[in-house]
Symmetry: C2
Subunit: 233 residues, 2 copies
């Protein structure tokens, strides 16, 4: 019995450690998105370069999370709920790493946007970014709290990010038509908007994983926010 309790204790410690790594990755990813948009707005090339460098840290945390998750599965052979939890953590680490990559990509484009450009959509991106960051934040809270309802609510919000993107897409295309000289720069803004839209998609993916880990069933299609025919997707 003592050994059994010890095993459970070790397992709980390891799961806690794994969840800690995910939380740490999530915090860094959120910050990277916010900083990237802020650096873009202020044409702050130093911060942009720092975001690119810091991405390595998130990559390393992902490697750690993966190793820990695999070790837990191999050594503790967790069953049902616990196994779903560990596999979810393993996958979520991978998705956060990709979310951070999108932030890095935004940072990499910062030097390519003219510091004096007064492209109006540039002022809309921060609001879209705030929405995407909120989704990432809330879905990781849902994961920490093992809360399937909170995960569903995050999915519902992906629609708003998509609408933002679709409207920005139209605005940017119109802007290019009216100001052909800015086309090179505006295409970068288009990719940046796309990156934020993809961050929303990835938050939705995490929400599905959280829901499955917590309930053992897949989220109903209509709650997922994955629509087949979105303009410009």
């Amino acid at each position: 019995m003592a050994t059994y309790e010890h095993t459970i204790k070790v397992f709980d410690d390891e799961i806690g450690q794994l969840r800690g790594l995910i939380a740490q990755m999530g915090g860094l990813a959120e910050q990277a998105i916010g900083d990237a948009i802020e650096a873009l707005k202020r044409h702050d090339l130093e911060t942009a370069a720092e975001i690119v460098r810091n991405d390595k840290k998130i990559d390393q945390l992902e490697v750690q999370a993966e190793e820990l998750a695999v070790r837990i599965i191999a050594l503790r052979a967790p069953l049902a709920d616990d196994l779903r939890d560990v596999v979810a953590a393993l996958k979520i680490a991978g998705v956060i790493e990709r979310i951070a990559d999108y932030a890095k990509n935004i940072a990499k484009r910062t030097p390519l946007i003219d510091s004096h450009s007064e492209i109006e959509p540039l002022s809309v991106l921060p609001a879209m970014a705030a929405l995407a960051i909120e989704m990432v934040h809330d879905v990781l809270d849902a994961f920490a709290a093992r809360d399937p309802e909170a995960a569903q609510q995050v999915c519902a919000r992906d629609r708003a990010v998509d609408d933002f993107y679709n409207s920005l897409f139209r605005v940017l295309v119109t802007h290019m038509m009216e100001n052909p000289a800015t086309i090179g720069q505006v295409t970068h803004l288009l990719f940046i908007a796309k990156n934020l839209e993809r961050i929303g998609d990835h938050a939705t993916n995490i929400a599905e994983m959280v829901y499955f880990a917590a309930t053992g069933t897949h989220m109903a299609e209509r709650d997922r926010g994955a629509f087949v025919t979105r303009q410009g997707e």
Copy 2:
């Protein structure tokens, strides 16, 4: 001894089954990319819609591969080389699913490109797609053969796909400047070119996983083809 041999036999069977799933996913993903570009060229909306539908099949295979990999890790507790192999398969399944998503995204954009458009870069995309498909094909061959050198060769080719993309990016931006009326459509071509470039990146990621699984060491930075400052990335 008989039981030990039996265990090894079961393990080998399961690994074989896992590798079979990966090969099947890879074949479908390669076909989806090729078909998507072909459908785009011919403005074949029916084929494009079919590619979008068929993507579900790849998603299902990924779920199967993941379940099998987790089962192998939990029940067989493989060590060192074998564990690396199973974890690589688990991750590669995830990357192939994303590669197929890019093909799906190309298919989704097909209805948005005018059937009568004579945008010249449209004729360059098939060559770029062929290169990307070849990378995916060869890296999965490298995985099947557990061949780290072949994996390295795939990485070296990512540079060519990037060069293709960068040159297309410039051509498309110029085209937009000279023909503002086509901007809406050309932005979709820009995203399609970007998707192909990302497929090359993902093939490179798989190559790194194959290399690590086969050797236990990470590929040297210079062989990876991951360059920090690419225009338009």
